[in-house]
């Protein structure tokens, strides 16, 4: 019997981690404060108590060390899930992630796999101090060998963390921290059944690369992911009041990028606006605009527009409302593509 539970995004990821650890005893967690404290966002709450020191390891305060040792554990046959405490602190590990983790499968000619999952609470809108609100996802999506995904809903939080852990490839798992306490319905059975099947890991990896239509529409495609999915849905609801029907795509994955889903939608609507918190310049929106122009140029009624973070360091919290995409800026972009 399928049951539906109400969970927060943080609670759903926690439940997903627990399910993954129960399914596979090689799954181990590591990171700063992930043990007794349960992580600064409590995403690993209760796991240390139930799985013990050897499965849930508080790590030294050294991000490169966390990822580097996780690679070694993966080479030994473990499936480490590590937490980088905040987005802005992933950079000490950038070398390990891009030069070792991303490349080991290829440089070994396919003989080695390194199924490490790196969880990163990311993005802003939480009134935080410097380095605690950033969106560095594209830096990793730009690196062949890594997979990058980000859930926007509790259901995806529960499903995607387990699928990422089951995948034979390394994952950067970006968690939109401003959405951690949003509640939604979660059904456990479907992904549990998928991952219990013999080819479950490959099916899970394939599904994890697919975008989701969060709302159907006819006039404009709003492409979003992670923290901006809710924003896009809000903008779509408001646009409807002025007679514009917006389709909202939740990309879910940045590597691979489900451009087919975007192109299909744009062929229908003829317009696209990409919304992300990350800096627009050289961001995911630029990639999507390029792919849309390559694959759907003659369906476009207007240029693809981007609504993202400005090319400025993330400002103090009192200014983030103007730095980040907001409903007004999204609607402004919608107006411009519709009026074109």
């Amino acid at each position: 019997m399928t049951t539906t539970e109400k969970m927060t995004l943080a609670g759903a990821i926690n439940a997903g981690l627990r399910a993954a650890m129960e399914r596979d005893h090689k799954v181990v967690l590591m990171g700063e404060d992930v043990g007794k404290l349960g992580g600064v966002f409590r995403v690993t709450d209760g796991l240390h108590k139930d799985f013990g020191d050897q499965r849930v390891m508080d790590s030294p305060l050294a991000e490169s060390g966390i990822v580097g040792t996780a690679i070694g554990l993966a080479l030994r046959g473990y499936r480490p899930v590590v937490e980088i405490q905040f987005d802005g602190f992933v950079f000490p590990a950038f070398d390990q992630i891009t030069t070792s983790l991303a490349k080991l499968h290829a440089r070994s000619g396919g003989t080695l796999t390194v199924p490490v999952v790196i969880r990163i609470p990311y993005a802003g809108n939480i009134g935080a101090i410097e380095h605690h609100s950033e969106s560095p996802e594209t830096l990793f999506a730009h690196t062949p060998g890594l997979r990058v995904c980000t859930p926007a809903t509790p259901q995806d939080g529960y499903d995607m963390i387990q699928q990422a852990i089951a995948s034979p490839d390394p994952y950067l798992f970006f968690e939109p921290k401003a959405r951690y306490w949003d509640k939604g319905d979660v059904v456990r059975d479907r992904v549990d059944a998928q991952l219990s099947a013999p080819d479950g890991a490959l099916a899970a990896t394939a599904e994890l690369g697919l975008a989701r239509i969060a709302r159907e529409g006819a006039d404009v495609t709003l492409v979003s992911y992670g923290p901006t999915v809710r924003l896009a849905l809000q903008a779509a609801a408001l646009a409807e009041e002025s007679g514009v029907s917006a389709e909202v795509i939740d990309l879910r994955s940045l590597s691979p990028l489900d451009s087919d889903a975007v192109v299909r939608s744009v062929k229908k609507t003829g317009r696209a606006v990409v919304i992300h918190e990350a800096v627009s310049t050289y961001g995911a929106g630029a990639e999507i605009a390029a792919r849309v122009s390559e694959q759907a140029f003659f369906h476009l009624h207007a240029p693809v527009l981007r609504v993202g973070g400005f090319y400025a360091p993330y400002p103090g919290a009192k200014y983030e409302h103007d730095y980040l995409p907001n409903v007004d800026r999204v609607l402004d972009a919608v107006d411009r593509v519709v009026a074109h």
Binding site: P60, G65, R76, A106
Partner: protein, 373 residues
């Protein structure tokens, strides 16, 4: 020679001095006492063959057959002495100059040159040899070694109650690497998790052109001490001492006592790589001083003195070396690159849409030239 500091020979453990005389060390001598003359001849063979291969690879680079070569010349004792200790289920994480360890682990040395001919980035399956791929990112692999050792501990391969079953990890790196954050983080992780890993630093006195004094103000082994692990300085050109110290260190790690730091003080007799020019930063006199301390020469002197190096054995090793270098030349010259579409293989273990799309595009692109003709 500095009186103190990272280029000093103070406190080096030695069991075979540079004139080939066997000496004793109160603590470490027992860890070499199982070595038979046959073992020592095995060391001679590994060192001699690796050096012959090393010189052959240098020649092949000079002839344009390789893009680059990284010599192990001068460091054979440090590598052979330590590598000889490794056994199942131990695991080695080398940097990129550990050709003699590779040889001992059964890697077919000529295959390694695929890396330096620009054909592939890894040239053996680590699982076949308990010998991980070379890592060119300085020090990065010391963290992989530490994580692997943590995994061995989780797997119950340390302090199992049966010393023959226990395992440990040994990771090789240079003096330059000790300045890297990753090496220092590896020391932190290894010590606080009590991981069974031996950090084996070959202090060959140079990071390309920079002397060890630019990496450290104190002897390199002091880095281990600062992390609360036993740290030993050993004469890196003394194959017997390197064996004894590593033998002890691996037993210590396998027993669950924790990590160990070993600094093997040696000398890079060749250049950093075939792209380097040591005449710009070191003197002939320095090179001659260290040539007197050649790790192979002193072992030969000793084995001859105890009448354990018959001419037939030396000749057989020479023959084996000649055969290897001949085979190396032949193989290297025969290697042609495969189809370029192979660059899309193994980027991911599971299918990836972007890779698949680009692979298909590239195939069509290549096919378009075929059709045009």
């Amino acid at each position: 020679m500095d009186a103190v500091g990272p280029l000093s020979d103070d406190g080096l453990v030695g069991l075979l001095n540079h004139t080939g005389e066997r000496t004793e060390h109160e603590f470490f001598s027992p860890y070499a006492k199982d070595l038979t003359p046959e073992d020592l001849r095995g060391f001679y063979r590994a060192m001699t063959i690796t050096r012959a291969f090393d010189f052959e690879a240098t020649s092949l680079q000079r002839q344009g057959e390789l893009g680059l070569w990284v010599q192990s010349w001068g460091q054979e004792a440090a590598q052979v002495g330590s590598g000889a200790v490794v056994r199942e289920p131990d695991f080695v994480f080398p940097s990129y100059r550990e050709h003699a360890v590779a040889f001992q682990r059964g890697v077919d040395l000529p295959q390694m040159l695929k890396i330096f001919r620009g054909l592939q980035h890894g040239a053996w399956n680590p699982a076949d040899h308990n010998f991980h791929l070379y890592t060119l990112v300085i020090g990065a692999h010391t963290l992989h070694a530490t994580g692997y050792a943590m995994g061995m501990e989780l797997d119950g391969l340390v302090a199992s109650g049966d010393p023959a079953r226990d395992g440990a990890v040994i990771t090789y790196f240079g003096d330059g690497a000790t300045a890297q954050g990753d090496v220092n983080e590896a020391l932190v992780f290894a010590s606080v998790y009590n991981a069974p890993v031996v950090f084996f630093c070959q202090n060959n006195q140079f990071a390309i052109s920079e002397p060890t004094t630019r990496q450290s103000k104190v002897p390199i082994a002091d880095r281990g001490k600062g992390h609360g692990m036993p740290s030993v300085r050993v004469d890196g050109n003394d194959v017997i001492a390197c064996y004894a110290v590593t033998n002890w260190a691996m037993q210590y790690a396998r027993s669950g006592a924790g990590p160990v730091f070993v600094e093997a003080f040696t000398y890079r007799m060749g250049a950093h790589t075939t792209s380097d020019d040591p005449t710009r930063y070191r003197t002939k006199a320095d090179e001659e001083y260290w040539a007197q301390r050649d790790p192979i020469a002193r072992l030969v002197t000793y084995l001859k003195a105890i009448d354990e190096l018959p001419d037939e054995f030396v000749e057989s090793v020479d023959e084996e070396a000649k055969e290897l270098t001949r085979r190396t030349r032949e193989l290297v010259r025969s290697w042609k690159p495969g189809p370029s579409v192979g660059m899309f293989d193994h980027i991911y273990a599971a299918p990836h849409a972007t890779v698949d799309a680009e692979r298909e595009w590239f195939k069509r692109y290549e096919q378009s030239f075929v059709e045009a003709h």
